[in-house]
């Protein structure tokens, strides 16, 4: 059905379609609308879920873990400090191989309370074993949330998935949304290691170095397999519903001499900059990085690359820029921009391309090349 919705409402609508058995909910700006909307669905009888209004995010993820290990589909949503407060349980969910799906509305971290978009919250969880996808439109927030359940619950994956959307700029924007009748796109959740009183097992007891090491390798093996599963699920989604997604969204890249790599809404805004640059005769393209874990193979060799990081690893550099450097073997122009919701327009992005200095880093609006 074609309508309009905010990014938050789109996520909630996808959750309604996915019919999780348990939803754990805790409010935090700018995510709150998701858990509020789900509360309304449950109260109105539009969604038959057990809704647990927990007392903290640590408990939100712990509740999802307890629910998921019975084999029930689970969902929660958070942002920023909420995500950080649940950090221990974020590791736990992945280590326990539970297909929890979580929406994370990307927001900056205090102090200096700031509720606007930044990706540092998600990146602080990048080594937990969660799959992470970043979306750029309201429609994609809906589609990616639906697909997240299918990918997470695939027996070749059995890892939790985090769907990331930019705080306010996507969570609160109203755009067109086409909701689908999902039919049998999502089969019932089946967890091979679900708790079973007929088959009493110990979950997560003391584990020696050799076994522990093997379990970690298992996670990595599934992460690697997840690439194929993601491609399959995105392929099936396209066949059924007509919208196609991949590890990146490439825009006018084929003959580009310079490619802008960005994530989330900045990655969409970059496309407008690309059109302007093309009008000036600059052969530019953009690549919006969607999947961050597992990190995709990118073909960027032989061109200039401008990476926009809405995050920073202090004492090291932009997280995406360094990922590109090590994974794609290019030395990008690293632009740090948009932290804490800093306004970055397509004109600014076009300037990044015009003024690029490959191999260097700049903080937009604060310093020149260092």
């Amino acid at each position: 059905m074609l309508t309009i919705a905010t990014g938050n409402k789109a996520v909630a609508a996808a959750v309604k379609a996915a019919r999780p058995g348990v939803v754990a909910a805790y409010p935090i700006t700018p995510q709150t609308e998701i858990v509020e909307q789900i509360a309304e669905y449950v109260t109105d009888g539009d969604l038959e879920s057990r809704y647990i209004p927990v007392e903290s995010e640590h408990s939100a993820m712990a509740a999802c873990i307890g629910a998921s290990v019975t084999g029930v589909r689970t969902f929660t949503a958070t942002s920023s400090h909420g995500l950080l407060y649940m950090h221990e349980m974020v590791h736990w969910a992945a280590g326990a191989r539970l297909p929890v799906v979580m929406a994370n509305v990307n927001r900056a971290l205090g102090p200096g309370w700031n509720t606007w978009a930044e990706h540092t919250d998600a990146f602080s969880q990048r080594d937990t074993g969660w799959l992470q996808v970043f979306v750029g439109t309201v429609q994609e927030a809906y589609d990616a949330t639906l697909m997240a359940f299918k990918i997470a619950e695939d027996e070749r994956v059995l890892l939790p998935v985090m769907v990331n959307l930019d705080g306010f700029s996507l969570s609160h924007i109203t755009q067109a949304l086409d909701t689908v009748d999902i039919g049998d796109f999502l089969p019932p959740c089946h967890l091979p290691h679900a708790i079973d009183t007929e088959n009493p097992l110990g979950y997560g007891p003391m584990t020696g170095p050799a076994d522990y090491f093997r379990f970690r390798w298992d996670i990595e093996r599934s992460m690697r397999d997840a690439r194929g599963v993601i491609a399959e699920v995105e392929g099936e989604f396209c066949e059924r519903f007509g919208r196609s997604y991949g590890p990146t969204e490439d825009y006018r890249c084929e003959d580009a001499d310079v490619v802008v790599v960005a994530m989330g809404t900045l990655g969409k805004e970059a496309e407008v900059a690309i059109d302007r640059l093309r009008d000036e005769g600059i052969k530019a393209g953009s690549m919006r990085l969607r999947w961050f874990r597992p990190f995709p193979d990118l073909d960027l060799a032989g061109r200039d690359v401008v990476v926009i990081d809405r995050d920073y690893s202090f004492g090291f550099g932009g997280v995406v820029a360094h990922s590109i450097r090590s994974k794609a073997g290019v030395s990008p122009y690293s632009v740090i921009a948009g932290l804490g919701g800093q306004e970055v327009t397509y004109n600014d992005i076009a300037d990044f391309v015009r003024d690029r200095c490959p191999g260097e880093e700049t903080w937009f609006g604060v310093n020149d090349h260092v």
């Binding site: 309009i4 309370w113 509720t115 930019d166 306010f168 700029s169 996507l170 609160h172 924007i173 109203t174 755009q175 067109a176 809404t265 900045l266 969409k268 805004e269 496309e271 407008v272 306004e343 970055v344 327009t345 397509y346």
Partner: protein
């Protein structure tokens, strides 16, 4: 692309007005986005919302710096905010006011949305509802069509008085 900036105070319905406008444009078969910009303040603080309408999908997420149209739902904001900032040459200002306001250059239109809402008894928690009548004014200006404006209102509000208020604003605005 047609770009609109709406100035209001938190709780006055500027954010909903933006959503309604986007929905009406969408029902006209166009692409539209509506995006509020929230500050950290609580109720009563000035809020801006942005609406973009275009024939093509809209990929811009940043704020509107050079609007074609500025809507001021609460003219008391004009004492603290420069509502004309960045207004395109030839751009329009729509004021919620029974009278023209001096100092608003260019094509300045006014309509008494508050009066219309009060006449229809459209009041929630003590405040008149401005977001549905304003849609009628925008229809008169040709930003959206009147049938789409009415449809959008009906999709979001059950109370028919909202549609009526929009029609009154449509009639009252002298475009």
């Amino acid at each position: 692309m047609y770009e609109i900036r709406i100035h209001s105070r938190g709780g006055q319905g500027g954010v909903t007005a933006a959503k309604l406008l986007a929905l009406a444009a969408f029902r006209d078969g166009k692409y539209a986005t509506a995006c509020p910009f929230y500050g950290a303040e609580r109720r009563g603080a000035p809020v801006v919302s942005f609406v973009r309408i275009d024939g093509e999908p809209i990929k811009i997420y940043s704020q509107i710096h050079e609007p074609d149209l500025v809507i001021v739902l609460d003219t008391s904001i004009m004492d603290v905010v420069d509502v004309l900032q960045g207004l395109k040459a030839g751009g329009t200002v729509l004021l919620n006011s029974a009278h023209p306001i001096t100092g608003c250059n260019g094509a300045s239109l006014h309509v008494d949305l508050t009066g219309i809402a009060l006449a229809e008894n459209l009041v929630v928690a003590g405040s008149p509802i401005l977001n549905t009548p304003v849609l009628g004014a925008l229809a008169k200006m040709g930003v959206v069509t009147l049938p789409s404006a009415e449809q959008a209102i009906r999709e979001m509000f059950a109370d028919e008085r909202n549609v009526k208020a929009a029609r009154v604003a449509y009639e009252e605005l002298k475009a």
